[in-house]
Amino acid sequence: MTSLQLLKNISNIDSQWLVDMETQKAPAPKPRYSLLVAVICLLALLLAGCGIAYLLHLGQLTIGTQTVPLSPDAVQGSQAPGQTELTVFSLQGAKGTPNYQASQEWLAFTQSYTRSGGEYWDSDPIYWAYSLQDQTMADKLEEICAKYDLAIIGKPWHEQIDCNQFLPLLGVDNLLKADSPAALSIPAGRYFPGGSFNVYGTLSLAGQEASITYQCIGKDVFYDVFGYLNSDTTTQRNYTTTDGIPLLFLESEWSSMILADRETCFVTIDITPAGNVPLDQIAECFDFTIRPHAPDPAAADAREQASNEEISNMQGDPNICRRPTYTEYVQDLIRAAEFQEIWYAENPEYTPPEVTYAFYDADGNGTQELLILHNGYIASIVGMKDGITDEGKSYHLLPYEDHVFIDWPGDEPNVPGEYWYHIFRFANNDDPVFSNPKERSIVRLKKDAEGNWWRTSSTEHYAEFDTQITENEAQAMLNSYTPIPLETHPLSEFSEP
C-alpha cells in the first residue's frame, strides 16, 4: 500500500471519531500546556545565589494566572481531574520591558475574549505561529505590537533533518559550548524571519538523555508563548555559568527549565526528563552568548527545500533497515523491543507478544528463511536478497504441510464480528530468493457478523467473498491441512542456521 492510499482511506474512518473529537474541543483559547507540562510540578520560590549584576526571578516574569482543567494524566500519579490555578510567566522579558508588557496585555485580552470565528480560522501565514482564531485577535495582536514597537514574528521555515545545518544561517555555529561534553541532536525546528527560533531534540550527557525544547525569541518581536507553572510544586533558583551568564532554573521532580534573559533575545530551554544529571551541569553545556541574526530568506528557503529532499531521499532508501546478516537484523528487533518498552509502560492494558524465531523454507525453494513469531504465530518472514535481509509483509500465520500457510484472524478482527482466513502458498518460481509479497491464494474464507461463512471463488489476492458456504464446509477446508511444528527459540538465543 502507498502512503497516498493510506491517507485517502483515512477519510473512511467512522464518523463518530470526528464527532467525538469536535465535541471535546474547549470553547476558549487555550493556554500553552507545553510549558505547563514542563513545569507543572514545581514548588515555591527559592531564590538562591545573588551577587553579580542582574538576577532573574519568577516574580519579574509573572504576567498573571490561569485556571486550567487538569486531566488525570496532566500530573503524573494524580487520578483526580479538576482545575488548578497556574502562574503564567513571560518567556520574553522581565517586568518593565516592552516584551513583558505586551505579554501581559495579550494574556489579559485572550482571557477575557470569546472568539467569534469558527473552530478553524484560516489566517494569513504571518500569523501562523500565534494562537489566533479570528480577525479580531489578529487586529489586537497588531495593535499590541504597534503599541510596544514589536514586530510580528512571521512565517517560519522548517528544518526536519538536522538543525545544525540551519543554525549557521542565523550566525550560530552551535547551541553548545565548543568544549561541552554533551551531544545535541536537533532533528526538527522552526526558524523565524527575524532570527528567533525554537528547536526540538535530545541532549546526551553523562550517559543520560533528555528531551529538550530550545526557544530563542528576539526582543524585537512579540510571541504569544508563555510559561505556566504550579507555584505549589515549583522550585526556582539562580545560577551563574562559569562564563558569567546569569540563569534562572525552574525545577520539578520530572522536568526543568532554564531561562536566560540576554541582551537581544530571551532563551528558554525546556528539559524533559532531566534524569539525574544536575541542571547546573546541563546549563554549562549551552552557549548562552549566541546572538542569532535574521537569516537570508533565499538561503533559508534553499535549506528548507534541501531538508525536505533529504527526508524524501531517506525514506526512499530501499535498503533502510536491511542488514547483511540475520544476526544484525535480530539485534535491531531486540533494540526496537527495548524502545517499545516505553510504550508498553504507558499502555498497561497491552501485553507485548512473546517473540521467538525459527528457520523454515517458507516457499519450498530449498533456502531457509527467518521466521519471526509472535505468540507462536508467524508475524514476519525475512529472506536474504542481494546480500541483505529482506522483510516482507506481516502475517498471523501457521505453517502446514506442503508449504501451505493459513493466515488466521488475530485478536482483533478486521471488521467487528468478522473473521477472515487466508489459505495460500508462497510462490517461488524457482527463485532462490524469498521476496514478498508473492502469496498464491488457494482460498480466502470469512465468517461474517451473522455467523455466515463465505469463500472466494477467485485466487486473486484481493478477490471478493462471493460464495456462501456452510460452516462445516469451511471447517473442512481449514482442517484439511496438516500443521507442522516449528523449532522456535527466543530472540535472545538467536544463532544463524
Binding site: M1, T2, S3, L4, Q5, L6, L7, K8, N9, S11, N12, I13, D14, S15, W17, L18, V19, D20, M21, E22, Q24, K30, R32, Y33, S34, L35, L36, V37, G118, E119, Y120, D122, W128, A129, N198, Y200, T213, D270, T272, N308, S312, Q315, W343, A379, S380, S394, Y395, H396, G410, E412, P413, N414, V415, P416, H422, P437, H461, Y462, A463, F465
Partner: protein
C-alpha cells in the same frame, strides 16, 4: 439554518441548498481543502466540487451529519486534486509532508483499490483509533484527517510541540505495526 432544513432544500432540489451549505460549512470545507492544497484557488475549486458532489449525492443520500459528510467529500476531492496537480512529480506543502510521515507506516507498493481492501483498511483504522487514548486520537486526526500542521495542533490541544511530535511518532509506529500485523502494509 438547521442541517435538516438544508437537507430538505437538497431534497426539494432548491439551489438555495448550496448557498446555505456554503454559508454554514463553507469555512469548514475551505479549512480542510486549504490544508491539503496549498494554493487557495485550488482549495476554493475543491470546495466548489464538494458542493457539486453533495448536490449529486443528496438525494438519495441523507447524511446523518452533514458536516462530517461534507468534510469527507472535501477531503477526498482535495486529495484527488492534489494528486492530479502533482502527478509525475514530487508534491509539496503539508500534504507531501503527511505522505512522507505516513510512508513510515506502509510498505510503499501500489495495492489494488478494491472494496475488500478498503473495508479491511477502514476496519483496521477504526480498530486502531479505538485503541488510542483520546488525546492521542485527537492529535492523530488533527494531523492526518484535517492535515493540521504540528504548530496548529499545539495551539488546538495545548500540548507542547515535543509532545505532539512524540505522540505522532508513537501513533505512526503503532499504526505501522497494526497495518503490518493485518497484512495491509
Amino acid at each position: 439554518m438547521d442541517d435538516n432544513e438544508i437537507l430538505d432544500l437538497y431534497f426539494a432540489r432548491s439551489e438555495q441548498a448550496i448557498a446555505e451549505t456554503d454559508r454554514k460549512y463553507g469555512n469548514y470545507c475551505f479549512y480542510i481543502a486549504s490544508h491539503i492544497l496549498s494554493n487557495p484557488a485550488d482549495a476554493e475549486e475543491s470546495v466548489s466540487d464538494t458542493y457539486f458532489s453533495a448536490w449529486t449525492l443528496i438525494p438519495p443520500r441523507r447524511p446523518a451529519r452533514l458536516s462530517v459528510f461534507l468534510g469527507k467529500l472535501t477531503r477526498n476531492l482535495s486529495i484527488d486534486r492534489w494528486r492530479k496537480n502533482t502527478a509525475g512529480k514530487r508534491g509539496s506543502g503539508e500534504t507531501q509532508l503527511l505522505l512522507d510521515e505516513l510512508a513510515d507506516c506502509v510498505a510503499g507498493g501500489q495495492s489494488p483499490e478494491t472494496e475488500v481492501l478498503r473495508r479491511e483498511l477502514s476496519a483496521a483504522l477504526n480498530a486502531f483509533l479505538g485503541k488510542l487514548p483520546e488525546r492521542d486520537r485527537t492529535v492523530f486526526l488533527l494531523r492526518y484527517y484535517y492535515a493540521n500542521t504540528q504548530q496548529e495542533i499545539t495551539q488546538k490541544t495545548g500540548l507542547s510541540a515535543n509532545q505532539v511530535k512524540y505522540i505522532l511518532q508513537r501513533t505512526r509506529k503503532t499504526l505501522a505495526s497494526m497495518l503490518k500485523k493485518e497484512g495491509l502494509q
